[in-house]
């Protein structure tokens, strides 16, 4: 039947695309190789009795317009202000409690509770940074929330003009300031507001997850601003809960999810999609296939080289996917006690100072293990005790400064050294935490690659970089979600607008399919 749409992969983007397409009345079948939905956002048991809330542990990047389009709040989505962040230091007076700097909040979010920000003399600097983000975010969100324009320059492009006018709408001064700051190393940009190096490192850290950059790399400030603009309200229950809700919404609208089925190949005849072949040999016919897999995998592994136009191959081969972080899940017998602050914290950053953060990147760059990895920590059991046995806790940790593969490979001994280095870092700021560890799961980039089918083990399906954004994510032929292969659409984070769990690529892919249908006069 010509209206069948196959969505490959039930990650957040695949589910968003499936839900939106099913709601239009299309027959949607989602094919997922694993037994659970959510992909990198799926909550899973990693040690008997302990669950994490996703390899991505922060869902505050969910775009509000996607949530509205799918009426997620009526399906149980509960928003709250992102919990404050402890900038953990080794000594009693060496910590700060940061508010989450974000571009927008949802007016429907529930009130937050928990520790109040404590910033000491940096209050004014943080407020000034917040003000900067608030003023530039609408412009950046305009880039993130709309389809990427074509780079065909022969005709003036309305979307490009629109973005240019929005930029101009900031006023000359603020426009120039945005252009200046975006090009800076994030540490230099933050230094204009925050004199304390350790606070700067902690502020910079999240923008470096998924970037092949250190805090001293030019353009990292641009990524920082984009991330701030993309950060909105936190989803209660995190990515795991978001995945559950998206799965429910997709099936509610009639999408069917086939778990534990793996697409082996996308069938293409004469440049047009015909369906997919599953491992085991079963075939499913479809005129539209939406792949939410990481795009290198979709194009290079699922499509026969004979069916792949050479320009597409060139474009995707240039898409850079060098991971610089690993993921660590810890099962803890008690709540970590942070030496730098009293109280219970759900989000903690262990970033050292900018130089040590830069050294962590050096390690990844030169294929070494980091001596002092930087850590982005979430203790989800603080708000959801049910994830672990009573009184026990879970720590979900992005470990920065990790190469795809250290020189010499990932032996059990090398893996051990990495988790030890991360635990040493934690021990410094939370003495005793090491003794409370009852279970560990370490996911190196190759582990992530094998488990989730993401090339390079890259959590964002492709590096965040100014040349891998917008119409260049992953390149001019593929960034508009529709591909030159008729009926093949891409809905991964490796496609504009990228980023973490945002649902935006899936939603824009669904829109591209609708527009393609309208062009062909298939549907109103």
């Amino acid at each position: 039947m010509s209206d069948t749409v196959i969505v490959i992969g039930a990650g957040h983007n695949g589910l968003v695309a499936a839900a939106l397409l099913a709601r239009r009345g299309l027959r949607v079948r989602v094919i997922e190789s694993r037994a659970v939905a959510g992909g990198l956002c799926a909550g899973e048991a990693f040690h008997p009795g302990y669950r994490h809330i996703g390899v991505h542990h922060d869902a505050s990047t969910l775009r509000p317009w996607v949530a509205r389009a799918l009426q997620l709040s009526t399906h149980g989505l509960s928003l709250r202000p992102p919990p404050p962040i402890l900038v953990a230091g080794p000594g009693e007076h060496e910590g700060w409690v940061l508010p989450s700097l974000r571009g927008s909040s949802d007016p429907t979010e529930a009130l937050g509770s928990g520790p109040e920000p404590s910033l000491g003399e940096h209050q004014a600097g943080i407020h000034a940074l917040e003000a900067l983000l608030t003023s530039v975010s609408p412009v950046l969100q305009g880039f993130l929330d709309n389809p990427a324009p074509s780079l065909d320059l022969s005709t003036p492009s309305w979307p490009v003009i629109q973005r240019a006018l929005a930029l101009r709408g900031l006023g000359a001064r603020q426009m120039l300031e945005l252009m200046r700051i975006a090009a800076l190393p994030v540490d230099d940009a933050l230094a204009e507001y925050i004199p304390a190096p350790r606070l700067r490192a902690a502020l910079a850290l999240p923008a470096l997850i998924g970037a092949y950059m250190g805090p001293w790399s030019p353009h990292s400030a641009g990524l920082w601003l984009l991330q701030g603009a993309q950060t909105a309200s936190d989803v209660a229950g995190g990515p795991a809960e978001l995945s559950r809700i998206l799965e429910k919404v997709a099936t509610h609208h009639g999408a069917e999810i086939l778990f534990e089925h793996e697409v082996e190949r996308i069938r293409i005849e004469d440049g047009r999609v015909e369906g997919v072949v599953l491992r085991g040999g079963d075939e499913i016919d479809a005129t539209v296939v939406v792949s939410s897999l990481e795009p290198r995998r979709t194009l290079l592994d699922l499509i026969s080289p004979l069916d792949l136009p050479v320009q597409l191959e060139d474009e995707i081969r240039c898409h850079r996917v060098r991971a610089t972080s690993a993921k660590l899940h810890l099962a803890l017998s008690g709540l970590p006690r942070w030496s730098s602050a009293e109280g219970v914290f759900e989000r903690i950053r262990v970033a050292g100072d900018p130089a040590s953060l830069e050294r962590a990147f050096d390690a990844a760059k030169h294929r070494r293990l980091p001596a002092a990895p930087a850590l982005d920590v979430r203790v989800p059991t603080v708000s959801e005790p049910g994830l672990a046995p009573p009184g026990h806790h879970v720590a979900s940790v992005h470990v920065l400064g990790v190469p795809y593969e250290p020189a010499g490979g990932w032996s059990p001994e090398v893996r051990r050294r990495l988790s030890d280095a991360a635990l040493d870092q934690l021990e410094e700021v939370a003495p005793g935490i090491g003794a409370s560890v009852v279970g560990i799961e370490l996911l190196t980039p190759p582990d992530l690659e094998a488990r989730f089918g993401i090339s390079g083990g890259h959590l964002l399906h492709g590096e965040a970089a100014l040349d891998q954004l917008w119409s260049l994510r992953p390149g001019p032929l593929l960034s508009r979600h529709e591909t030159p292969i008729e009926g093949l659409f891409l809905a991964s984070g490796g496609i504009h607008p990228g980023g973490g769990p945002s649902g935006a690529s899936g939603a824009l892919a669904a829109r591209a399919i609708q527009e393609a249908d309208q062009r062909r006069g298939r549907r109103p």
Partner: protein, 529 residues
């Protein structure tokens, strides 16, 4: 007797001289004041060992704008450029890599590393060449101003936009990638051989405190393809007589048009009367008046030291203070008893009549950068070596040679602070010579005299703030309409009567004369003198 000048130029670097020449040519009464005993600033030749003339700082020429050479008749004033014969990358094992002006020979060389790369190399050159033409158009006129609503500015933006539109989609894509990517990443898209990519990537890091893997460094690759000597694109050369000869030729032109040039005349302060620049006060205490004062010194020096923040609003002061000038380069000049011989290609030959890059791999270059980031000079640095006496025998006694070694990385801010440089200068010089000697053993024994310039020395001797060779880093946040600051990229300053004309203004550093020429045109068309 007091003489009132139309214009005083602070600094006799090549840009100050170009500006002076244009103003004098237009009939203005011009005075150039240079602090040092010799003219030229960072484009200077000095005989520091009897019989041996060093091209002390800058050593190769290519970006010198042809319109300036023509309009100032610099050839008639003695400027003569000699093209380099080769780009040689010696290796510790194997024959090393030579890239020659002859494409066929280059292709054969590269094919020894990778046949695919040998095919790609000319295509890459052609693609860059097309983009270089687009960029040249940008550097030969004042910076576009995206914030302005004046019809003439909008018109200029529209012209650039149209030129961009006329690029093919592939070229436009490359242009965007050049502006955003790292040199190493961009070259990865084209080539597979690390030994080829390494020396190619180096032009992306010259003068910046960035590594070949730092985003933004691809942009500078283009510079490489913008060179012109005698109308031949892409050739690099040296000036007969060293780079000081470039400055001398411009000075000759300026004097010919009636400009007065004084050396050993350091400006202590810019005179401000009634909120307007009215002249300068020299170190000697002398006051000289002029209708306009044009600074050819680096912007932070100009505004914070020579002008003084009391004449500026706080916002401007805050912005100029954060203008980024981190020095990262040093220079070692050697007088040699005999020609060095490279193990991988021994003896004399065309291969050493060009530039010689110690850049064996991308990782080598990146490690050199990583070491410097934390406040130490690279123990195994990137070197760019030229032996100009091979092409220009006037620089050294017969049979003897001068060697110019450009070095990265030498961070201005050593861990122990910049003033620790004098105590590390010789160790730095040793590291440079030892690194090079690995490729040409016996080098040490042939050294008759050595000059080591650290970033600290560049600041002390040449007035280059923090030793930055380009009067401010050439990164996207301070190029074009943001050089040196957004709103002040058209050679004017917040103080009426005070103008800027050197590398800290659009289009930036390098021996090209464009800032000086464009500034003079701006001053003349503003009809302030």
């Amino acid at each position: 007797m007091s003489t009132r000048y139309d214009a005083i130029i602070i600094g006799g670097g090549h840009n100050g001289l170009v500006c002076a020449a244009y103003l004098a040519k237009a009939g203005r009464k011009v005075l150039v004041l240079e602090r040092r005993p010799v003219l030229g600033g960072a484009a200077v030749t000095e005989e520091l060992h009897p019989g041996f003339k060093y091209t002390v700082c800058s050593y190769v020429v290519s970006l010198m704008r042809p319109w300036i050479v023509r309009e100032l008749e610099l050839a008639r004033c003695g400027l003569q450029l000699i093209p380099l014969e080769c780009s040689f990358t010696p290796h510790l094992e194997g024959p090393g890599l030579c890239r020659w002006p002859d494409p066929q020979r280059t292709r054969e060389e590269i094919a020894g590393l990778s046949v695919a790369d040998a095919e790609q190399y000319p295509r890459f050159g052609q693609a860059m060449g097309r983009l270089a033409r687009f960029v040249k158009d940008v550097i030969d006129q004042p910076a576009p101003d995206p914030a302005s609503l004046w019809p003439s500015d909008l018109g200029q933006l529209a012209r650039h936009a149209r030129a961009f539109q006329q690029l093919s989609s592939a070229d436009a894509l490359n242009q965007i990638k050049l502006a955003t990517m790292s040199a190493a990443d961009l070259l990865d898209e084209w080539f597979e051989s690390d030994a080829l990519k390494a020396p190619m990537s180096c032009s992306g890091i010259i003068g910046t405190f960035l590594g070949v893997r730092s985003p933004g460094t691809a942009a500078v690759l283009l510079h490489h393809y913008m060179g012109e000597i005698d109308g031949a694109s892409r050739a690099w050369g040296i000036a007969r007589g060293g780079n000081g000869a470039v400055s001398e030729a411009i000075a000759t032109a300026a004097r010919g048009f009636g400009a007065t040039i004084r050396t050993q005349a350091a400006v202590a302060r810019i005179l401000v009367r009634g909120g307007e620049a009215a002249g300068v006060v020299l170190d000697s205490g002398d006051e000289i008046e002029a209708k306009v004062v044009v600074s050819a010194a680096e912007p932070r020096l100009t505004f914070l030291r020579l002008l003084g923040r009391e004449h500026l609003d706080d916002d401007f002061v805050a912005r100029i203070k954060r203008y980024r000038c981190r020095g990262s380069s040093g220079k070692v000049n050697l007088a040699l008893d005999r020609l060095p011989s490279f193990t991988c290609r021994p003896g004399d030959g065309l291969h050493i009549r060009g530039d010689i890059a110690v850049a064996p791999s991308i990782d080598y270059l990146e490690e050199a950068y990583d070491e410097a980031k934390y406040g130490a000079f690279s123990r195994r640095p990137y070197l760019n070596v030229v032996i100009p006496s091979l092409l220009d025998p006037t620089l050294a006694p017969p049979g003897k040679h001068v060697m110019s070694i450009f070095v990265q990385y030498a961070p201005y801010a050593l861990e122990a602070g910049p003033s620790a440089w004098p105590s590390q200068r010789e160790a730095f010089g040793d590291a440079v010579v030892q690194t090079l000697a690995e490729y040409c053993p016996g080098l040490e024994a042939s050294i008759l005299h050595r000059q080591v310039l650290t970033p600290w020395d560049l600041e002390q001797q040449f007035g280059l703030t923090e030793g930055n060779i380009f009067h401010g880093e050439l990164t996207a946040d301070q190029l074009l309409f943001q050089r040196p600051l957004a709103g002040w990229a058209r050679y004017r300053s917040p103080v009426p009567g005070l103008w800027m004309c050197a590398s800290g203004t659009h289009p930036g550093g390098g021996v090209m004369g464009a800032p000086g020429g464009l500034a003079a045109k701006a001053i003349l068309s503003a009809a302030v003198v």
